[in-house]
Symmetry: C2
């Protein structure tokens, strides 16, 4: 059993590759839920949905999130009612939020609802929210403390992030399937997601970091920073403004003590020696993922290197 930790688009791509590279049912993806929020009374879980849609093969290939070919007629009507359509939900996507909200209000856990959705969409991979309790990422900026989606979507990540808070995380517990999957884990993969606001909240759930640390399976991360820049999103600027190095080396330092190995891009090959000096094994390869086949290619390299079957290149 491989257990992957993932945020949104980058994590979803590697998760899809891992799912393709392994027999059905041999992968659990633990997904960040600290981006979740309420909109128009609906519970929106952006990272869960991005992973769900990607593994179901229906994700929009252009954006990486949302459903391919989706329309936005409901949003147009919402705007027609005078409401700000700042977070554009597609019509097919809206079904997910409506049904999830109904099920949660009826008392079902987010874990249960997510598993139901995955089954309905034919996804054999176990998709697990990091926690069934609500956690909300807040970012401190010169403009004040912002809700994550306000910072991320409405304000287009323009604000300098001077601090990050995972509101409610003290009261959160790992979702039941987190411990169950880690008990069977043969490899733990930290997907190329933002280490601060995607992987960070997962590790901040009380007890979850310890579960990972105590798990005897090898642990491997894939750097989301390539050539000093995030492939998607504000991870590079966020790392810098919070005092970390915006580089694969910076990512390695953040995961030091928890992760045994890291996969960095060919472009960052020069950083490999410094990372290795820190005691981490390094695989240098092409980490920028294209379509599903390329995601499977990277996943196979990650698995092979993570399990120690391949030596890391120093190209």
């Amino acid at each position: 059993m491989i257990v992957a930790l993932a945020g949104g688009v980058g994590g979803a791509k590697l998760a899809q590759g891992l799912a393709r590279a392994r027999p059905p049912g041999d992968l659990t993806v633990v997904i960040n839920t600290a981006d979740d929020f309420d909109l128009y009374g609906l519970r929106i879980c952006p990272d869960l949905d991005t992973v769900l849609y990607t593994l179901a093969g229906i994700a929009d290939p252009t954006t990486g999130w949302g459903i391919a070919g989706d329309t936005h007629h409901a949003m147009d009507a919402i705007a027609g009612y005078g409401r700000d359509p700042w977070f554009r939900l597609g019509d097919r996507d809206l079904a997910t939020h409506v049904l999830r909200t109904e099920r949660l209000r009826d008392g079902s856990s987010l874990s249960t609802v997510t598993a139901e959705f995955a089954a309905a969409l034919g996804v054999a991979t176990a998709l697990v929210p990091m926690s069934d309790e609500r956690v909300a990422t807040l970012v401190d900026t010169p403009a004040g403390r912002l809700e994550f989606q306000d910072y991320f979507v409405a304000r287009r990540q323009q604000d300098v992030v001077t601090g990050v808070v995972f509101d409610g995380v003290e009261a959160a517990r790992p979702a039941p399937a987190v411990a169950e999957s880690l008990a069977d884990a043969t490899l733990i993969v930290f997907c190329p997601s933002n280490p601060i606001v995607s992987i960070g909240p997962i590790l901040a759930v009380p007890g979850l970091r310890d579960l990972i640390a105590k798990c005897p399976a090898p642990k491997i991360a894939v750097s989301p920073i390539v050539g000093g820049r995030a492939l998607k999103g504000p991870a590079d600027r966020m790392l810098a403004s919070l005092g970390f190095e915006s580089s694969a080396l910076g990512v390695a330092k953040m995961y030091a003590g928890l992760v045994d190995a890291i996969v960095i891009d060919d472009e960052d090959a020069a950083l490999a020696p410094a990372i290795r000096e820190g005691g981490m094994r390094v695989l240098v390869t092409q980490t920028v993922m294209g379509g599903p086949e390329d995601r499977e290619r990277l996943a196979a390299e990650v698995i092979g290197f993570g399990l120690g079957r391949e030596r890391g290149g120093g190209r």
Copy 2:
């Protein structure tokens, strides 16, 4: 001020005619809410929405309900999650249900939300739910007691209705604007809606029938039965199975003592003498409404005859 009582499609058409025939703001439509129900956790108010969309000029001209040109992508996705899409909500229509549910959950009254929606869609007519409390029509049939939309939509009105119950009506009060509008009413119009399950629930709200009865304004009904048949829906069969006459005369008898005048169709001219014998004034005219101009034509005749400006024809 004209006050109209209305259910769904037929009521909405005449309400649109009345709105066109009078200066803006000179009409209040009191609308049946006993068809309302919850679906996928959303509050659906079919009659309110049909009147809203019709007066906003966006109703589907073919069905009379829903929004013209609407798509059904969210419903397709809901079906993809394994849920029965028996009640097909359009994508634009879904926005109404999502926003209404949000506002109601936040503690706003159905009256407030309906007024907000009407304002947002440019409807100057006051649209008023019969009550802000929940009332649910249940129909007794040989197959047992059914929820209204189960009978009406899912089972396509195939069951013989042996009884009707307005669940919760004892605890309902007329919405605040009902009494306010009746205090200013110069004419009360019973739209051509099902007298049992559309107008019936309105009159069953404790105190509401009395408010109408005590209002000094003349009261006029438009028969929804033409040639013994309902123009739309099961009113004819429902009248018959509940022991009423399925005719304009039967409708007149149901409203006897409450309504001063009735408008019946040319096709039913032969019934006029019998209705007049019962003490009700009768206007015989073309009651089957076409487009907005024709609705306005009928509304003008209804207003003129209701106010006593015109004599009823006996053609």
